[in-house]
């Protein structure tokens, strides 16, 4: 990593990004007085939870004889893929069932993707900073 960005800048820009996502989803509800797209926020916030529960620590590398930890990790990956696809498909299905309009569909989908990607990028920064910290401790 050539140029160092201070962690405070990262956190501030990511929170702005996250707020932009929430703004898009809430605007897609409030502009049309139709609050179905709020479920999209719920799904996209639930999406990183299984990976955080099952894949946070890597037991799998420590002992590979037992595959129960790998099964847990698989479960986390399965549910993450399921939630992300649900969050993308949900506005499309609502649009197809004429519950929301097309503009509202596009806005809530983009807003949900922004929320999810900001959460993922945040956890990514966090883990990489942990790794650097460990390297600094032991090296």
């Amino acid at each position: 990593m050539e140029f160092k960005v201070s962690p405070l800048t990262k956190i501030i820009s990511l929170s702005g990004f996250l707020a932009l996502g929430f703004l898009l989803v809430i605007l897609s509800c409030a502009l049309f007085h139709n609050y179905y797209p709020l479920y999209d926020i719920l799904v996209f916030i639930l999406a990183p939870v299984p990976n955080a529960i099952f894949g946070g620590r890597s037991y799998g590398s420590s002992d590979f004889m037992s595959d129960s930890s790998n099964n847990g990790k698989d479960l986390g990956h399965f549910f993450t893929g399921m939630f992300v696809t649900s969050g993308i498909l949900m506005p499309v299905i609502f649009y197809h069932c004429q519950l929301i309009g097309s503009v509202s569909c596009a806005m809530s989908m983009i807003g949900g993707l922004i929320i999810y990607s900001s959460i993922v990028i945040f956890s990514w920064f966090f883990h990489s900073s942990w790794d650097n910290e460990e390297d600094n401790l032991f090296g």
Binding site: F64, M65, D67, N70, D74, H77, F78, F79, T80, G81, M82, F83, V84, T85, S86, L89, M90, I93, F94, H96, C97, Q98, L99
Partner: protein, 183 residues
């Protein structure tokens, strides 16, 4: 299959992904397919509830094949594959013959539960086709926005079946990988 120049399989700067990565990606893919099946089916239910111009509606009958497929997938993928492997080994009279009786009973249970799970999956798919035929096609609801509810049901069950197959293959990849590691 020699890969002597800078351990690369192809000439192009292109390499087959590692087994571990394939397993992760296929588990994600399985989740994606499951969500696709779920939402394609839920599309039919929501369409029937909110914007249905015809007089045929999605009732609990239409939910039964979906529930069968989901339970079948749950059963099939929650079985330890090692039990089946142990049963095969003890049938050959091979390595794990010291506790052969327990293995035999366990393998028999695993096989019967696995058969039950696959029967539920196949029953879900065929049940959705039966619902499509009896509820829509026989009663001459063949124009598209109405018959779409039955077709979405079949498509959802097919997606759940694909998801189950992908998850099964992913777990078998993982088994071979760990087997080669332990040997």
């Amino acid at each position: 299959m020699d890969s002597n120049n800078s351990d690369r399989l192809f000439r192009f700067p292109f390499s087959l992904p590692k087994l571990h990565g394939v397993r992760t990606v296929s588990v994600y893919l399985s989740g994606i397919f499951y969500a696709l099946g779920f939402w394609v089916f839920l599309d039919a239910a929501l369409y029937s509830k909110h914007s249905n111009a015809s007089d045929v509606h999605v009732t609990f009958i239409d939910w039964i094949p979906f529930l069968c497929s989901t339970f079948g997938m749950l059963i099939v993928n929650s079985i330890e594959k090692n039990r089946l492997l142990q049963g095969a080994l003890s049938n050959d009279g091979g390595i794990s013959s010291s506790f052969g009786g327990v293995d035999e009973a366990m393998a028999w249970q695993a096989r019967s539960i696995l058969f039950f799970g696959f029967a539920l999956l196949a029953g879900g798919l065929s049940g959705s086709i039966v619902v499509l035929i009896i509820k829509f096609l026989v009663k001459d609801y063949t124009s598209y926005p109405t018959v779409g509810m039955g077709i979405n049901n079949v498509l959802g069950n097919i997606f759940i079946l694909i998801s189950c197959v992908v998850l099964w293959i992913a777990q078998n990849i993982e088994d071979e990988y760990s087997y080669s590691l332990t040997l």
